[in-house]
Subunit: 609 residues, 2 copies
Amino acid sequence: MPDHDFRHELAQQLRVDSVRASDAGGSGHPTSSMSAADLMAVLLDGYLRLDYATPDNPANDHLIFSKGHASPLYYAMLKAAGAITDEELLSFRSFGSRLEGHPTPRIPPTDVATGSLGYGLPVGVGLALTGKRLDQLPYRVWVLCGDSEMAEGSIWEAFQHAGWAGLDNLTVIVDVNRLGQTRETMLGWDLDGYVARAEAFGWKAIAIDGHDVQAIDAALAQATSTTDRPTVIFARTHKGHGVKAVDDQPGKHGKPLEEPAEAIEELGGVRSLSVTVQTPRPGSPCRFSTDGGALPRWEIGEEVATRQAYGKALVELGGLRGDVVVLDGEVSNSTMSELFAKAHPDRYFEMFIAEQQMIAAAVGMQARNWVAFASTFGAFLTRAHDFVRMAAVSRADLRLCGSHAGVSIGEDGPSQMALEDIAMFRAIHGSTVLHPSDANQTAALVAEMATLPGISYLRTLRGKTPVRTSPDENIRVGGSRVLRSSSDDVLTIVACGITVSEAEKAADVLESSGIRVRVIDCYSLKPIDGDTLLAAAAETRAVLTVEDHWPEGGLGDAVLDALAQSSARPPVRKLAVGGMPVSGKPDELMHAAHIDAEAVVEAARQMLG
Amino acid sequence: MPDHDFRHELAQQLRVDSVRASDAGGSGHPTSSMSAADLMAVLLDGYLRLDYATPDNPANDHLIFSKGHASPLYYAMLKAAGAITDEELLSFRSFGSRLEGHPTPRIPPTDVATGSLGYGLPVGVGLALTGKRLDQLPYRVWVLCGDSEMAEGSIWEAFQHAGWAGLDNLTVIVDVNRLGQTRETMLGWDLDGYVARAEAFGWKAIAIDGHDVQAIDAALAQATSTTDRPTVIFARTHKGHGVKAVDDQPGKHGKPLEEPAEAIEELGGVRSLSVTVQTPRPGSPCRFSTDGGALPRWEIGEEVATRQAYGKALVELGGLRGDVVVLDGEVSNSTMSELFAKAHPDRYFEMFIAEQQMIAAAVGMQARNWVAFASTFGAFLTRAHDFVRMAAVSRADLRLCGSHAGVSIGEDGPSQMALEDIAMFRAIHGSTVLHPSDANQTAALVAEMATLPGISYLRTLRGKTPVRTSPDENIRVGGSRVLRSSSDDVLTIVACGITVSEAEKAADVLESSGIRVRVIDCYSLKPIDGDTLLAAAAETRAVLTVEDHWPEGGLGDAVLDALAQSSARPPVRKLAVGGMPVSGKPDELMHAAHIDAEAVVEAARQMLG
C-alpha cells in the first residue's frame, strides 16, 4: 500500500526545495513547480522505474519535463532520488552549474533539453515509439506538460501521432494550473474540455485533483494498466500551491518568492526525505540484423538526381548498420526515402505531414542511440526550425535531408523551393551542412553522416545531374572538388549543387575566349574547405560564387567567411536568387534568377573588367 | 431554390478544367482538385459573396485554398467566375503566368500564397478575427483544407484559437479524400473521428458526402446560420472523382492524367458555364480613432531596455495611427507589448503560446491593410519560420519583434536565447532586419517599421542599455551610428545591440594604449549601411565585428557581404557566440562567449599584430 503521508511530505519537500533553489538562483519558476509537486512526488515514489545511479541503463523509464521552466521541481526530484546533493541543488542557475534555468542533458538522466514549450511531449512520443518498435523494451515514457503549452500545435501533432500509433507506454501528466505567464489560459480549469480533446485524438484521458495524492496514485495506476492507447492525466492544480501569498495568484510567474523563509515555514520547513526509486527490470535493446552490402556506385556521366542517390545510399546503409532508422514527412516518394521504407520496413517511420513531430521523434530515437535520418522538402524543414534549434541544445545527433532545393525544382513555385535552408542550418550550433552535386558525392556523404556528431543536413536536388565524381574519390565533410585548375587561372568560380553544371558551362565559354578560370564544387558548406578556397584566392584575381539560394547565409557568405582573414583577399561577388521566383521550367527560373551559365559568364567578365 | 443540376454541371466543368490546366502545364494536382470540385461548385454558385471584378472591395468574402496544390480547381473557379479567360487558365505553371503551381497574390483576389500545408487555415483565422474585431464587416472567410494537412500542428492552433474566439464568420471545408501523397492518411475516411476532434475544440462540425450537391448545400446553409462558433464541414470525397482511371486510386497524386482526352470525355466534355457570383452588401471597414501623441523620448544617459522602448513606442504609434494593431504570444510582459495592450485593448490580440497562429493572424490582418506588429521571444520566432517564409511569398507587410536576444539574457539558458534570429530573418526575401542598441533608436525604428513594405524584424534586449542616441538624431533603416572616429583610426569595430557598450569599453582601453579605433553601431543589419562600412574599411587597417549571435548569418556576415567587392578589403574578424551557452549572469556569459570588451581588446591587439 502506498504511504500517502510520505508522498504528501515528499511533495512538500519538493515545494520547499523549489523555493530554495529559485531563491538561491535569484530567478526561476517556483510557482510553476509547486503546482506539480504532488504529481511528481507520487510518480517518483510509486511509478517511475529509473536507475538514477546508472542513467545509461537501456531499460530505464524516461521522464521529460516538457514544461522545462519547472526545472526547480525537476532538480528537487533529483535531490530526493539521491542523484544530486543539496549543495548542487542550490547552485541552480549559477554559472558552471549543471542545473541550468531549463533542464539540459548536462545533468543526467535528462534525455533532452526543454524550455521551448511544446517540444518535450513530441520527443516523448519519439521515445515511446523507440521503446515499442526499436529498443523493444518495456520502459515507460512520462511527460510533464504545462497547460499553457497545450496551445502549441506541436502538442497536437504529438497527440495525433501517439493516438494513431497506440503508444500505451506513454503517460502524459498535464499540470492544469490555469495561469499562464500573463493571464489565464484559453481553457482555464475546464478539464472536461481537455478530456474531450484528448479522447477525440484516441487517448485515454483522466481528470483529477492534482493535489490529491490518492487520486494521483489511482490515475497513474490506471495509466500503467491501460493498453492500446496512451494516457493523459489532466490534473487541476493551483500555481504556487501551498503558499498563500502565491497560491493561484496572478503576476507570480517566473520569479522567486518574495518571502522565501515564511513560505518554507508555511510548507512545514526544510525536509531531507530520500526516495528509493524503483529500478527497471533488466533488459537489452533490440538491434536489427544486417545483411551487409556496399554503398551504391554510379558511373561517371550517368544522370541521377541526388535525392535518388540519398534513397539508394540509405538502403545500403541500412544493410550495413542495424542501428540506422529513417523517418519522413509523407513525401518519401519525393525525398526518395521510400527506397529505405521498402527495403527495411521495420525501421521506417511514416510521420505524416507533421514536421515538428518528425524531428522530435528522431531526437527521441537518437537519445536511445539509434542513428536517425529524417527527410522532407528542404522548404518544409523551416516548419521545424525551433525543433532543430532545441535538438542542438539537446546535444542531439541528427541526420536531416531536405530535398527540392531552390528554383531548380521548376513549376511547383516558391512555396516548395528551399531557398533559406542553408542559412537556417549553418546557424545551428555544431551543425554540418552538405550540398552534393552528384550521386556519388551524395552516397559518400550519407555514409559519413551516420557517424557525425551534432546536427547534419544534406540538401538534395529534384532534377538529375551528371555524375562527375568517381565513386572511389575521397569525398568528405570539409572537402571540396576542384573541377578545373591551372596556374593561369584569373578567376575562381565556387558553386554547389545544381550550379556546378552552370559553372562548368560558363568556364567553357570563358576559356573559349582565353579566360582561364578555376571551378570549385563546394559540396561541404559547413565546415567549408578553407584551404582550397584560400589557395584559389591567392592564385586568382577574383572569386565568384553562384548558388540556388537567397543571397544571405548560403554559399557566398560561407566563402566570404572563409576568406575574411586571409592575406590574399580578392573581391568576391555572389550570384544568388535575388527576386521572388515564380513557376516555370528549371532553366527558365535559373535564368531569371541570374544563376545560370550566362549570368556567371556576364558576372565574370564584369569582375575581370 | 438552388439548381442542383447546374451545380453538378459546374462541378464537372471545374473537373474538366482542372484536367485541362494540368495537362497544359505538364504538371500539377488534378486528382486533388477533382475531389473538391462539387464542394467548390456549390460554394461558388450559392454562398460566396465575392466581387471578382473588384478584388479590393472591403466587404468581399475571402476564400483561401489551404490545400494550395488544388490550384487547378482554384483557377477553374476563377474562370467560371469570369475573372480569367480560358486562355489564361491554360497558361497554368508556365513562366510568366499569374497562375503559379500554388496560388499567390499575383492573381487577385488571392489574399495569401499557399502551398505549405497547414498555413492557409491559420491565415483564415486571422482574416476572420479581422472581420470581427477590426474591419467589423460581415464578410465570411471560407477555407478549403486537405485532409493530409490535418496532421500539421498549425491546423490545431487554428482550431483552438477560432473555437476560443467564437469565429462564426469562418467556415472550413475539409476535403477528406483519404489519400495523401504516398498513402492513406492517419484517419482515412473516419469522419466521426474528425467531427469529434473539431467539436472538442468548440466548433460546429458537419459530416457529409462531398459529392452530393444537395448535402453540400445543406451543410453550407447550416454553416452560415451557425452563430457563436466556427463551422467545419468534413466532406467524404474520392480523390480523382469522376474519372475511373484515377478515382480513389493510389499513386495518382501530383501528376497530370495520363489520358486527358478520355478523362474529359468521361466527365462529359468541355463546358463553358459561367457563374454570377453574389456580390457582398456594401460596407466600409472600421478605423479606430486616434488621440495624437508623439514618439517617446529618452535623455542621453538613461538606462532603458530596448524591449521597454518597443512597448512605449507602440503605445504612441497606436495613438498616432488608427490602423496599428498588436499581437503577442502570451509573453507580453516580457516583450513589453503589454503596454500597448493596456493603452489600446481593442487593438491588441492575445495569441497565447501558438507562434504559428500568431504570425498567420498578423498575415490575415495585413491582407486587409491593418498594420500588424507581432512579438514574442526572438528564439520562439523560429517556431514560425515557415510561416514567415510563406508570408514573404504572400507579399505580406509584417512587423515582427523578437525580444531576449542572445546570451545577454542570462540565467534562463540557451532555450530562451535568440542566437539564430538575425540569420533567419536576413534570409527572408525582401526583409528588413534591425537591432537597436538603445531606446531612442528603438522608437525611431518602430515608427519607420509602420510604413515599411515586406517583413521587418526588430531584435530587442532583455537588459537595460544606456541611451547614447539623441531622440532628434536621424535614425533610419539602412543607417548606422559612428560612435567614434578620427583620421588616425587603425581599426574599425562594428557592433550592434548589447555589444555596442562592449565595443565602446574596448575602444577606451585601446585608446589608452595609443590605438585609435573607429566604433560603428550597426543598428540596421539589412539593409546595412554600406557607405559607412566602406569608408571605414578604406580608412582603417582591419575590421572587427562583435555580436551576441551565432557566427553564421549575423552581423559579421552582413559586414563581410557589404565589403566583399570594395576596393579596400581589410581583414575582417568576427567575434560571435561560438560555444553552446549555459546559465549564468549576463556578464559571465558575454565573457564566456568571448564577446565582451576584454575579448574585443584581445582580438584587436591580435589583428593589429
